[in-house]
Point group: C2
């Protein structure tokens, strides 16, 4: 729903979230550059509050509510980073938040959301039950529903990461971001092409959750079924809004296999000494596909988040891979 945000919306979001979200550093790594044959600049949203870029969009959306709307609170359905992000953004504005979560969500996620003062509402683990749960909260409370990506306020907020990346890194030739629901990629497109239409833009997706590629090839939105990928942040499908933005801006959308994601993940941990989640390794894994176009170029990568279970890393025996 809604119309695509503009660069002005992203700039306004940057002003709104200043002092709330962190200005995360851009890191480089000579040994990974040598391996991929590009000069990579990693925008480290794994260091963002709640451990993911999601805090940017959630904060922008919460800060844009007028006083009456804000007093009634916010609601979403999510078991991922958006849930924590919205909970913390609401807490910092001092307004209530309700998070509808499936009964099979990990206890640690529920605890984190409750730690930020939000109320968790359990539902059956189906999309229908999640939507029904959220609808019920809306009816009872008059709260505002904040979708994780199908919302121009969210997209504008996510775009602020790319804004900072371009501000801190001179002369980028291209930017790559992971594509799940498309909120981060859409905000990145609006910010980057708003500032400089000559910078190439690439999305990166798991082969096992390639709804965006299928949609772009077909020229129409094709939602993915139950996606089986270790990149759990990328299992969702585009919305009409994010599909339209990606179709307008993307120069390419490489997909990568599961073993390539795990390999790239471990490479980043070992060489860059940062903890990133599997979704964040997808753009680096995609660099091999993009080498014909980007060899020797200066390429920005948005590292989306760092929320992993340290007891279940993909290279441990018995872990899901």
């Amino acid at each position: 729903m809604g119309v695509a945000p503009t660069l002005e919306d992203v700039l306004a979001a940057a002003g709104r979230i200043a002092g709330e979200a962190k200005r995360t550093p851009v890191l480089t790594c000579a040994s990974i550059d040598a391996i991929v044959g590009m000069r990579l600049f990693f925008k480290c949203e794994n260091f963002q509050k709640v451990g993911a870029f999601k805090f940017r969009g959630a904060t922008n959306a919460v800060r844009m509510l007028d006083e009456d709307e804000a007093a009634a609170g916010v609601v979403t359905h999510s078991s991922g980073n958006h849930a924590q992000a919205l909970a913390l953004a609401a807490q910092r504005r001092g307004i209530p938040a309700w998070i509808v979560m499936p009964t099979n969500a990990p206890a640690v996620k529920r605890t984190a959301v409750e730690g930020y003062g939000a109320t968790v509402i359990e539902c059956e683990p189906t999309l229908a039950a999640r939507e029904a749960g959220a609808a019920q909260v809306l009816e009872e409370t008059g709260a505002t529903f904040i979708h994780p990506y199908d919302d121009p306020r969210i997209i504008a907020g996510q775009g602020t990461a790319a804004l900072e990346l371009l501000d801190d890194t001179l002369g980028l030739d291209a930017v790559i971001a992971p594509v799940g629901g498309g909120g981060l990629m859409s905000g990145t497109c609006v910010a980057v092409h708003g500032l400089n239409p000559h910078v190439k833009l690439y999305g990166a997706e798991p082969e096992n959750a390639d709804d965006a590629r299928q949609s772009l090839e077909a020229g129409a939105l094709i939602p993915v079924g139950a996606a089986n990928t270790i990149a759990d942040g990328l299992r969702t499908s585009l919305s009409d809004l994010t599909f339209d933005i990606l179709r307008e801006h993307l120069d390419g959308l490489p997909t990568v296999a599961e073993d390539e994601i795990v390999h790239a993940l471990r490479l980043v941990w070992e060489r860059m000494k940062i903890v990133i989640e599997p979704s964040s390794a997808v753009p680096l894994a995609a660099c091999a596909r993009l080498h014909p176009e980007l060899a020797g170029k200066r390429v920005g990568i948005i590292v989306s988040g760092g929320n992993v279970d340290l007891d279940r890393l993909p290279w441990m025996t018995g872990s899901p891979a």
Copy 2:
């Protein structure tokens, strides 16, 4: 051996290593601040080249050699981060390096050193054998021996990390660094008190390798035997030179138990999303001991390095702890 470096030596080192070593970022973490009750500023030398601060000292020492000395190369005995640091520093100046390493050193360490173009010389895993191996190389090649910490050039180089920390962080009340051989702590003392004698300085040590505490209490150097600590970078003992510097500057030297180190290690990985080695968790673990003096204060922590075996993390079953 040698006399203690001065602030001028550290400043000169900073000029010498500029463009060679990375200027690493200073990171903060609100949730860890809330847990320890201080405002912490982490100087991230885990992002340094070769994954540790050691590259600073090694580069300074290698760059200080005159042309004739440099042509004959450098030698050291080490199986740790200093070995890789010296190998890379020598490679970047284009001079040979010989690293004497015990036969029981992990293959990955040997491979890394050889990857930087150094020649590895194997010896029996005793200090006597290591020193004999190095002496033989010296005799055969005329190379310069570069000790990992008992050397004013090394200490001055390590001090540049604290220089940058103070430059990037206004109004620090205290700085904490881990203490093994004392090179990093000594450089930190010289840099920090050279710039501002009012900043408090603390070393932090494992209880199981508390030679520095014993030495400071006794007023004389007491080397530690075979130290059994997960903080493998801190198993070495002070030298006369580093002991003298620490005795002059330190305001305290708390020690911590092994389980406290593992707890702090995991906290940093989980909350800050950075990969640090156990030695680097020792100062954070020591914050609990320092709370009476430092509650609410602005405290810098030197994160010494990030070289860990991702297949053998301390919280994994069957790993050493």
